[in-house]
């Protein structure tokens, strides 16, 4: 859903955002000031960013934060409700739910971020190549992207994992492929709008090489829409990773991952509802926070929305 939203609604304005960056030249201080203003003005985005900072810190410091080892089983304490000993209770194998959520944050966020970064790198490369060189390369790239669009994202991800097998690395590959097409289109659109502009013409006129034009002039000016889309993509990737984990094709047990925990907890909904409540809540709040931050970034970077 997020992917299509970005693709259909954000692309034109994202392209506009690149104009703004270009107008500002390399005024990164101004950009930072504008971002800060936006986050101060937009309280929800500020809370979202704060939440993300906390959850990232918790994920990074998991061994210090988690009270127990995430896979340590204690069948005697199986399905114990929240207590002083186990703040969020224990799961079906007697593992501490809080510790698994903490370690699960590491896995879930890493998968989402790495999948998105992979998509950004691949999508940017494809979009730059297609937009800058045009012609047959553009045609071919965009048709490949069209084919990728023909599959619903989650189905494409399931297909990839089914073919290459379930593992953390393969999940990242699936999410990379999942988020590549939209990025490729956004970057291509930005490049096409930038190519005829005077500063690019000027660079050509003074004899700048193609790599210099691409990496010194085009890439910096497409960064704004990329950042906006990538942020929103993290939310999509997080949801997709959770969905794949829920379907049992994500990370392998006993690794703690929010989607897989939600899936395992579903069986015990009647006996231990907290096993679905906490992972579900974490996925929901994290995705919401990423979206709030993404929206704030878009508001800050898009000149048409100011």
């Amino acid at each position: 859903m997020i992917r299509s939203r970005v693709n259909r609604d954000r692309s034109p304005t994202a392209a506009g955002a690149s104009l703004r960056v270009q107008r500002a030249g390399h005024g990164s201080t101004a950009l930072r000031r504008r971002l800060w203003r936006e986050f101060v003005r937009n309280r929800l985005a500020f809370v979202g960013a704060l939440y993300l900072a906390v959850i990232l810190a918790v994920a990074a410091l998991a061994p210090a934060v988690a009270p127990y080892a995430p896979n340590k089983q204690d069948l005697i304490s199986r399905l114990d409700p929240p207590s002083a000993e186990h703040w969020l209770g224990t799961d079906e194998a007697g593992r501490d739910e809080l510790s698994r959520l903490v370690y699960g944050a590491r896995v879930s966020l890493s998968i989402a971020v790495m999948g998105t970064v992979g998509g950004v790198v691949l999508g940017t490369a494809l979009g730059l190549g297609a937009g800058f060189f045009g012609g047959e390369l553009d045609n071919l790239t965009m048709r490949v992207v069209d084919v990728m669009y023909a599959f619903p994202g989650i189905l494409l991800a399931i297909l990839i994992v089914a073919v290459i097998g379930p593992s953390l690395f393969n999940l990242v590959i699936a999410l990379t492929v999942f988020s590549t097409p939209t990025l490729a289109r956004i970057v291509r659109a930005s490049v096409l709008s930038l190519k005829p502009r005077e500063f690019i013409e000027a660079a050509r006129a003074i004899g700048a090489t193609r790599p210099r034009i691409v990496f010194r002039h085009l890439v910096p000016n497409t960064l704004a829409p990329i950042i906006v889309h990538a942020t929103l993509s993290v939310a999509g990737a997080l949801l997709t990773a959770a969905a794949l984990g829920f379907l049992g094709v994500g990370v392998q047990p006993p690794t703690a991952e929010w989607g897989a925990m939600l899936s395992a907890g579903q069986e015990y909904m009647r006996n231990a509802s907290y096993l679905v409540t906490f992972p579900g809540l974490l996925i929901f709040v994290t995705v919401l926070s990423v979206n709030l931050v993404g929206d704030a970034l878009r508001d800050a970077l898009d000149p048409y929305l100011r």
Partner: protein, 554 residues
């Protein structure tokens, strides 16, 4: 008769007496109150319980199925399919709870002295739902529909049949190529359901649109992935069912089934997870627990290192705490397995070695085999870590069992990596020895305990063989495989129960001595039924509920 005449007089008097509408209704109610017990008694027969007469005839029972039937003619089959379609059909023979064979569509059966010819005498008063008669030609047709279809699930059951003779309409002679002492049980199994030859031939591959048998209920409607409707067969050769009909709601999610049971939109619930038993009882439903012929075990792959090594297999068997798993994961609804045959089985033998949880002994066996504890707590030999590929699946609780097994193995220094696959892929991977798997939790059931000396596919040539023994290239394992297959062949050719028991002991001993499998437990089938469902019949060791005589006390 006197009472019903009296009742008619009362009704006539009430109708003839002039008066207000309210007075008429009062008199009508009085008349009905007097008339109904004898009338319903006449309709329902004197043998039925008084409470049932009061509750009245009819109603529909709704039961769940977690999936649509895989086939309607049972050429493919599983318990879910059988639970959904069995109401349509009868078999040649039936079996009671203790697996004593008894007549069904065949009234008698006998075997020749050489064990090669079975003679079945058939009932003459049976008609298929399409009105055509059930006779010897129909039985021959039904044997041949399996024998001419190698893909039929029941082809192996009847493979030993050479030909079928029909000397008259009510006699069938089944002539075998080789002796098969289990054949009478095959006559009582799902492969022996009788389909109408007329309808089956007329509809061909479209048979599922209107399946026809001789059973207590007739097909009414089927909406794939939604529901199946059956109606009472008023021409049933036994006493027709009391219920008007039966509905199967296809509900893949067990939580949804539980919700439906609570809302009383389901009258029964099959395969309850032990953790949900208390919840089902709190809903007011009764829970029936039955020991099921079958075994739950750790399947070990003898073709892959390191489980090709006996010491490793023995250590695994001693590292798993089955008592804790039965108590905490199965809530006690299982008995600890000795050697593959459950304590209620004719083939259970207390003299066969039972391997118990003993992590100290597991460690000693591994130490002696040269697997020494490494700095990371995992054993090593010649620089190689003792690590297993633990195959798992998302099916039911199997992933949980595998995770618990993984942790228990780790405690004795055996590392394992879980690969969890979707059910279909898992089964293919497991059976076809793909991906180099070493161990996996597995479960197999058998239809009859009387035919299953180990209650699972232990024979090397079995389609679902549990330890890949036939595929091993190790000469010692190959010899063991031939030995086991020879025992399996002898079991089939031996009708004498005592001799079969001896053969079972030999097979069980070989399995235990060579630790081909880690026997975990024998689970129970748990079924929930609404308290108002009366006189149901727990069939197939509780895996299916029969509703032929059932009625609703609502």
């Amino acid at each position: 008769m006197d009472r019903s005449m009296h009742a008619r007089d009362v009704i006539e008097a009430a109708l003839q007496t002039p008066g207000s509408r309210r007075a008429f209704l009062r008199r009508a109610m009085l008349a009905l109150g007097v008339a109904m017990p004898p009338v319903s008694g006449l309709l329902l027969g004197p043998g039925l319980p008084r409470a049932m007469a009061a509750a009245g005839k009819g109603g529909t029972v709704t039961v769940p199925a977690t999936a649509s039937p895989t086939s309607w003619d049972l050429t493919k089959s599983d318990w879910i399919t059988w639970g959904a379609v069995n109401y349509l059909y009868d078999r040649l023979l039936d079996a009671d709870e203790k697996e004593n064979l008894r007549p069904m569509l065949a009234t008698t059966w006998s075997v020749s002295k050489d064990g090669l010819t079975y003679t079945l005498k058939l009932r003459r008063d049976v008609k298929f739902h399409d009105g055509t008669p059930f006779n010897a030609a129909a039985v021959k047709f039904n044997f041949e529909r399996h024998l001419t279809n190698k893909n039929s699930r029941y082809f192996p059951d009847f493979e030993a049949i050479d030909h079928v003779e029909t000397p008259d309409d009510a006699t069938v002679r089944v002539v075998l190529k080789t002796v098969n002492a289990d054949m009478p049980y095959n006559f009582a199994g799902w492969g022996a359901i009788q389909l109408s030859p007329t309808t089956t031939q007329r509809l061909g591959s479209d048979y599922a649109s209107h399946p026809v048998g001789t059973g207590p209920f007739k097909f009414q409607a089927y909406v794939p992935d939604s529901h199946i409707e059956f109606v009472r067969n008023d021409q049933y050769w036994q006493k027709p069912p009391v219920l008007d009909g039966l509905r199967v709601n296809i509900l893949p999610d067990l939580n949804v089934e539980m919700d439906n049971l609570q809302a009383k939109t389901l009258d029964a619930l099959y395969y309850i997870n032990p953790k949900d038993v208390d919840g089902v009882k709190k809903m007011g439903a009764a829970v029936e627990a039955r020991a099921v012929p079958g075994a739950q075990f750790i399947s070990m792959n003898v073709t892959q290192e390191p489980t090709s090594e006996l010491a490793v297999r023995k250590a695994i068997a001693r590292a798993v705490d089955r008592d804790a798993m039965i108590k905490k994961l199965l809530y006690g609804y299982a008995v600890k397995a000795r050697a593959g045959a459950s304590p209620t089985s004719h083939y259970y033998n207390p003299d066969v070695l039972m391997v118990n949880y003993n992590p100290g002994e597991a460690a000693k066996i591994l130490d002696e085999a040269g697997w020494k504890l490494g700095p990371d707590g995992i054993r090593q030999r010649d620089g190689k870590r003792l690590a297993l590929n633990l195959l798992s699946t998302t099916f039911q609780d199997w992933s949980l069992y595998n995770q618990v097994i993984q942790e228990q193995l780790k405690a004795v220094g055996i590392d394992s990596k879980i690969t969890s696959l979707e059910w279909g892929t898992y089964l293919d991977t497991w059976r076809e020895n793909k991906n180099g798997w070493n161990i996996t939790y597995h479960s197999q059931g058998s239809v009859f305990a009387s035919t299953a000396v180990l209650e699972c596919s232990w024979q090397p040539n079995a389609f679902w063989n549990i330890c890949q023994i036939r595929k091993s290239t190790d000469p010692q394992i190959q010899r063991l495989s031939q030995q086991l297959q020879s025992i399996a062949d002898q079991v089939l050719a031996t009708p004498d129960p005592a001799k079969r028991r001896d053969l079972a002991k030999q097979a069980q001993t070989l399995y235990q001595e060579n630790q081909l499998t880690v026997w975990l437990w024998h689970g129970e089938s748990l079924t929930g039924l609404q308290p108002y469902v009366k006189d149901y019949d727990m069939q197939w060791h509780g895996r299916v509920v029969g509703f032929t005589r059932a009625w609703l006390n609502k």
